[in-house]
């Protein structure tokens, strides 16, 4: 069993350092599109440092589950990031888990996040948990099916193997099944990361919060862990979209040149994806809560069509 320790450390560092930057770039570009100056792209780093330094206030009704949840959210996000090929073809933790473990680990994080929302006995938290679990009940199958479409073509549920097959067999984006799966996974990305039109990441009104509602009672270092975990999850889902469907430029070996090139390609793909997300966020209003399942069911149908067409025509 060969686990490259250096690769694990390097990928963990990349995840930790790049994730807040992606959030910062999204916020900055959204502001620029709305004709504002916006906060600088390194603002999330300053926010995280601020949260880590501040005192923590915990509800007197909360139990150990409330304190346990931020660790689970943060660690599951990191684990998922280690299972995903970002810059190199071979993800460090590829042996320990592939597509199904990715979805399952994210679900574990979401489970404890929802429990952490219910624990302080506030109505906001319960509402956020309820909405999050409902929307993820429809979004998670869509994600699984979209990933399975690529897995069937590659003959494996290992993410690195999928990327490797994609890279070697030529660019298959114009394959209809892959295009449908990409569209489905893009909608799921918006839902899972709490972006408009599913959820507004900048609001704290009870009619419009989903993810923020579960975080309402968190403060200080626990809030830092939660925000960082959410940012890492966002980075991983974007990497999933970028690397599964556009497997270009990933480093096949560990030479510095290949790694540098891989990093450049990765950042370029992320920037394009961030641009797409910013465009969608700025041009769409938030959907009413009971309209969001329609959008997610559309994503589910797209993913199902993609998988069925793969089974029928291959």
């Amino acid at each position: 069993m060969n686990l490259n320790l250096l690769a694990i450390v390097a990928q963990t560092a990349l995840l930790l350092l790049l994730a807040p930057l992606v959030s910062g770039v999204i916020k900055n570009w959204k502001a620029k599109l709305q004709n504002r100056r916006g906060a600088p792209v390194w603002q999330p780093y300053l926010d995280l440092a601020k949260f880590l330094r501040k005192d923590m206030v915990i509800s007197e009704h909360a139990s150990w589950v409330f304190s346990f949840a931020p660790y689970v959210v943060f660690l599951t996000a990191l684990l998922v990031g280690l299972m995903m090929p970002l810059v190199t073809l071979q993800a460090p933790l590829d042996l320990f888990g592939g597509a199904l473990a990715l979805v399952g680990t994210l679900a574990l994080g979401r489970f404890f996040l929802a429990l952490g929302g219910l624990d302080p006995a506030s109505a906001f938290g319960g509402m956020g948990s309820s909405r999050e679990m409902t929307l993820s009940a429809i979004a998670e199958p869509a994600m699984i099916l979209a990933i399975f479409t690529v897995a069937i073509a590659a003959g494996s549920t290992s993410l690195s193997e999928m990327v490797r097959v994609g890279q070697s067999s030529g660019w298959t984006f114009f394959d209809p099944a892959h295009a449908l799966a990409f569209a489905a996974l893009f909608i799921v990305l918006l839902a899972e990361t709490g972006r408009l039109p599913v959820d507004n990441p900048a609001t704290h009104l009870e009619l419009t919060m989903i993810h923020e509602a579960m975080l309402l009672e968190y403060s200080g270092r626990y809030l830092a862990l939660m925000e960082w975990g959410a940012a890492i999850k966002q980075l991983v889902l974007m990497a999933l979209l970028a690397n599964l469907f556009f497997p270009l430029g990933l480093a096949a070996d560990g030479t510095p040149a290949a790694l540098g090139l891989g990093l450049l390609w990765f950042c370029a793909k992320l920037l394009v994806l961030v641009g797409a997300v910013v465009l969608v966020e700025t041009t769409n209003a938030k959907l009413r809560l009971f309209r969001v399942p329609d959008l997610l069911s559309a994503a589910f149908m797209l993913a199902l069509l993609a998988l069925v067409s793969t089974f029928l025509f291959k």
Partner: protein, 725 residues
């Protein structure tokens, strides 16, 4: 010498009795004796056959002791459930010993009693399939028997604990007979005994009308299923001429296709009713909540699995070489059961009814694996069929473990708060911390989250379904991605349901006085739950070791052994069949998470050394105090799902208010919300009406006139003469 030995035994017994401060067991000698016997069973040179006989004997003794000691409650409790635990332990050791001895070992078979008539042999055979299900029955029996030692005292003075312990022992005895029987008669006797004892136990608290109704419904459904099974066995007997299971092996090849298909359908219906597949599931959510919680756990963990045992025995052992549509039917039925089970579970606010619907969902998942295995047997892919069978068997054991744990936890909560209604619970994590932690383990396991066992068996099921790509040319292969999609939907909905179940029951503030005064469960109750929680963790972290136990099973039924193929990385990693296919390692992920734990602590050290922790009330928008009425309720939690799936649920909501001068200041408020019970209204009520109408018509034949009866006898004689010649 003898007095010194006695003094030593008494000291040990006193020490044990003192070590259980919550238990007022005056008979401290008894647990010491039972533990000693258990050690003898484990360390002694007993063969699996002897251990099975020992298990049956212990259960019989337990039944007898429960029935004889009706007046002495504590002794009946201790002796009855103690013997049950001993019997289960014996069965567990026997089954493990047999399975660990590898695929080549011959199956011990013997007769329990001398044969009654020439064909009614009380023959018992411990083949790998039987041994695996014996393992399941015994594991659950052991945990539940230990739990019952602390649970049954809740019935002291109210109901007869002797009857409860006798019934439990008899139920366990019948279940063991069902899975090790080698003769159709013994199987049917065990089956019927199981059904009748379960009926008696379901109706244990028969003072409530709902309990009586549930008992009668269960009684009717189990006789329907017994009827189907008897008819199925009759068809098999017609082809083989003998009642022993050995003669029925592969009998399907010798039957004409029409009869073989009819037999399959009869067995699917019969075992399906017992297992609780849709649309025969209506007895499950009625019977499980009203039974005593240890019986509910046994029913959900063992009774419905005997239906699965029957299906595997018939599908793989008796009726070999299945046509494609059998696998398609089982897979479809499984998919529908899984999705409908979890959707109806989400709508429940009775904790035990919610768990009963989840049993239906998990039976659906097991059937998905079995259906895939049957389909692969037809298309000639034995390795994939083995993978499907491994996934189904693994999920069967996992479900027994985590569902048993959850029902025992629900029993502890019911015992402590006096209610099953989640809307009256809350805040129990502070009053019952260990029960809450164990329930959380069960909730994480059943939601198929890594690193526990539910995730592993769903991973295997997904791999089996994905393997269907490229196996057949028919359009039928579309069923694989569709089932995979439904399995994904089920998993996500199950996680939502258990966030609700755990969160509303244990977290936040207590919603009623009962919940605020709840007490922690007795030590033996926690021990029984802890045993099952440990099983969940072990089955989740070490799947490759456990799959080795399934080798004899798959070797017997399909002729393949996959444990070497599925294991990599020194047994730490679970792989799939294709080279460079997917891999997963729950142990690896857990260890990695532990290795990453220093990162947050490093951040605290670098940035947050001066940060302090303060406790304050939850943010209440400036109101003076948050009351429990302001928390989220179970019904409210599942409202968005009710709205999303309203085509299925057809929810009905009614608000009535009485007011004097303004509707905003209501005097009384009545709120009613329910979902449509589709199966009762659309299937069972019309069926019942039709049957009763037919019965009334037939009653017209019994006119009371002797002339009519003489005419019937004459016509029958005439017909017999015509057809006999």
């Amino acid at each position: 010498m003898k007095s010194r030995l006695l003094k030593l035994v008494n000291e040990v017994a006193a020490a044990l009795a003192a070590a259980w401060p919550g238990q007022r067991m005056r008979y401290g000698l008894l647990p010491a004796l039972l533990v000693l016997l258990g050690l003898c069973v484990w360390l002694g040179p007993f063969t699996p056959a002897m251990l099975v006989v020992g298990s049956l004997g212990a259960f019989t003794l337990g039944t007898g002791s429960g029935l004889l000691l009706l007046r002495r409650e504590r002794l009946a409790n201790g002796l009855g459930f103690g013997l049950a635990a001993l019997g289960a332990w014996s069965g567990l050791v026997g089954a493990l010993r047999f399975l660990l001895s590898g695929p080549g070992t011959p199956a011990p078979h013997f007769e329990l009693l001398p044969p009654l008539l020439s064909s009614i042999h009380f023959a018992v055979r411990l083949d790998p399939l039987g041994a695996f299900f014996l393992l399941l029955v015994s594991l659950l029996g052991l945990a539940i028997a230990i739990y019952s030692l602390g649970y049954a005292p809740g019935f002291f003075g109210r109901k007869s604990v002797g009857l409860l312990s006798a019934g439990f022992n008899l139920l366990a005895l019948a279940s063991v007979l069902v899975v090790v029987a080698d003769n159709v008669w013994l199987f049917l006797m065990g089956w019927e005994c199981m059904a009748l004892t379960a009926y008696c136990l379901v109706s244990f608290e028969h003072e409530e009308a709902a309990t009586r109704r549930a008992g009668v419904l269960y009684f009717i459904m189990s006789h329907l299923d017994a009827g189907c099974i008897i008819l199925g066995f009759a068809l098999l007997f017609q082809a083989s001429g003998d009642f022993s299971f050995a003669s029925l092996h592969d009998i399907g090849a010798q039957m004409p296709p029409g009869r073989r298909d009819a037999a399959f359908l009869l067995f699917l219906t019969g075992f399906g009713i017992k297992a609780g597949i849709v649309p025969f599931h209506i007895w499950l959510p009625a019977a499980h909540p009203v039974a005593p919680s240890n019986i509910s756990a046994f029913m959900s963990g063992v009774l419905i699995k005997t239906g699965i045992y029957g299906l595997v025995r018939v599908g793989f052992d008796f009726l070999g070489a299945p046509p494609l549509w059998w696998g398609v039917t089982v897979l479809s039925v499984g998919t529908v059961s899984a999705v409908l089970g979890v959707l109806y579970a989400l709508m429940e606010h009775d904790l035990k009814r919610l768990l009963a619907y989840h049993s239906i969902e998990n039976i659906g998942i097991i059937l998905m694996g079995l259906g895939a295995a049957l389909m692969f047997r037809h298309t000639g892919h034995p390795l994939l069929a083995t993978l499907g069978l491994i996934a189904a068997s693994y999920h069967t054991l996992n479900h027994a473990a985590f569902k048993g744990l959850l029902f025992l936890g629900a029993g502890a909560v019911l015992h402590a708060t006096g209610t099953r209604n989640m809307e009256e619970m809350g805040g129990l994590i502070r009053r019952m911390p260990q029960t809450a932690a164990l329930f959380l383990v069960g909730a994480v396991a059943i939601s198929a989250l890594p690193p526990l066992n539910g995730f592993v068996s769903e991973w295997l099921t997904y791999q089996a379904l994905l393997g269907g790509f490229g196996t057949t040319d028919h359009l039928i292969r579309l069923i694989f991605p569709l089932s995979g999609a439904m399995l994904a939907l089920t998993g996500a909905l199950a996680a939502a349901c258990f966030v609700k179940a755990f969160g509303i029951t244990f977290l936040a503030q207590p919603r009623s006085e009962h919940a605020a005064q709840a007490h922690e469960a007795a030590p033996t109750m926690r021990l029984g739950m802890g045993l099952l929680a440990a099983a969940c963790v072990v089955l989740g972290l070490f799947p490759t070791q456990f799959i080795r136990l399934l080798d004899p099973l798959t070797q017997q039924l399909i002729g393949q052994q996959l444990s070497a193929h599925l294991s990599a990385g020194n047994g730490m990693v679970l792989t799939t069949l294709a080279s460079k296919g997917g891999t997963v390692s729950t142990l690896g992920l857990t260890l990695m998470a532990v290795c990453l734990l220093p990162i947050p602590f490093g951040l605290w050290l670098v940035f947050g050394r001066r940060a302090r922790l303060r406790r304050a009330p939850t943010w209440d928008c400036g109101q003076r105090e948050l009351t429990p009425h302001m928390e989220y309720t179970a019904t409210g939690f599942s409202k968005p799902i009710r709205m999303v799936f309203k085509a299925l649920f057809k929810p009905h909501r009614e608000v009535q208010r009485e007011y004097d001068f303004s509707p905003y200041f209501a005097k009384t408020l009545r709120f009613d919300s329910h979902v449509e019970e589709v199966f009762e209204r659309r299937i069972y009520r019309p069926a019942r009406w039709l049957i009763l109408r037919a019965a009334r018509r037939i009653r017209g034949l019994q006119a009371g006139s002797i002339h009519a009866y003489l005419l019937y006898i004459f016509v029958t004689l005439l017909l017999l003469l015509v057809f006999a010649t």
